[in-house]
Amino acid sequence: MTSPNNENEPAERIIELRLPSRLGYEKVAMDTASSLARRMGFGGDRVEALRTAIAEAVTNAIEHGNEHDADMRVLVMLTARPDELVVSVADQGRKQLDQQKTTPTPKIEDSFTKRDKGGWGIWLIRELMDEVEFTTAPSGGNQVRMVIHLER
């Protein structure tokens, strides 16, 4: 046991999910997280915000980080704490995320004129979640850690 805790008490209540890098599987992460969030007591709007943020994070991991390689996995970890839910999404980092792109300020006017309508995912995640942090996963891939607080 690496954990100092007795095995009768989990160090943390963590659900781990490993998904193939194929579009559509983000739905599995969304449904799993919303099932957990509802049971923790999150309201409908917050659950929807969480679903959207996870959809963006997992889609980024599939499309960019793992470049659609179905053999590469996206690791989603859901940690349920008494007052918050922590969601971590990591890819295997075939393509590294440019750190300058982790704090975007996209303009809606540009989307009307430019062919590339992308660039809204990370902005959306920051708008929807209470804490957001982009790091490198232990595996070397890109990792985003998102926290949503439970307001009672």
């Binding site: 954990s3 160090a11 599987y25 599995v28």
Partner: protein, 138 residues
């Protein structure tokens, strides 16, 4: 897809949502997904309560492999209590009338819902339960 969670009752409900979404993505029809959810919940409860004896620090591992028109799911626990077949299985009627032990009802239900189900050989000392569901054509 792989999924793991702590051995606490309630997590089977989250596992069944994950596996249902996976099956749906593969094209499994709605009714069959409902059968799968019920069967998987029972298998996870067995792993939590019996295989891992409700020890939260021990984990239940679920793996799902979709191939063609079928989905194969395996549920692994740490085997604190190993499954032992009791030989002849009493009918559900006898169980309900209290004339036979009630244990084993979950497994009977899984057998009714899944196309294939049963414990498989495991080298690591844990219980390995496997169930297969074929996607019914609409």
């Amino acid at each position: 897809m792989e999924l793991s969670f702590p051995s606490e009752l309630g997590y089977e409900k989250i596992a069944r949502e994950a596996v249902a979404a996976f099956a749906h993505r593969l094209g499994c029809d709605r009714e069959r997904v409902e059968d799968l959810k019920t069967a998987l919940s029972e298998a996870c409860i067995n792993a939590i309560e019996h295989g891992n004896r409700d020890t939260p620090g021990l984990r239940v591992d679920v793996s799902c492999i979709g191939a063609g028109d079928r989905l194969e799911v395996e549920v692994h626990d740490r085997g604190l209590k190993r499954y032992e077949s009791s030989g002849t299985v009493a009918s559900i009627d006898l169980k309900l009338r209290g004339l036979a032990p009630r244990r084993g009802m979950g497994l009977m239900m899984i057998a009714q819902l899944a196309d294939e189900a049963g414990f498989t050989e495991s080298a690591d000392g844990g219980n390995h339960f496997r169930l297969v569901v074929y996607f019914r054509k609409l």
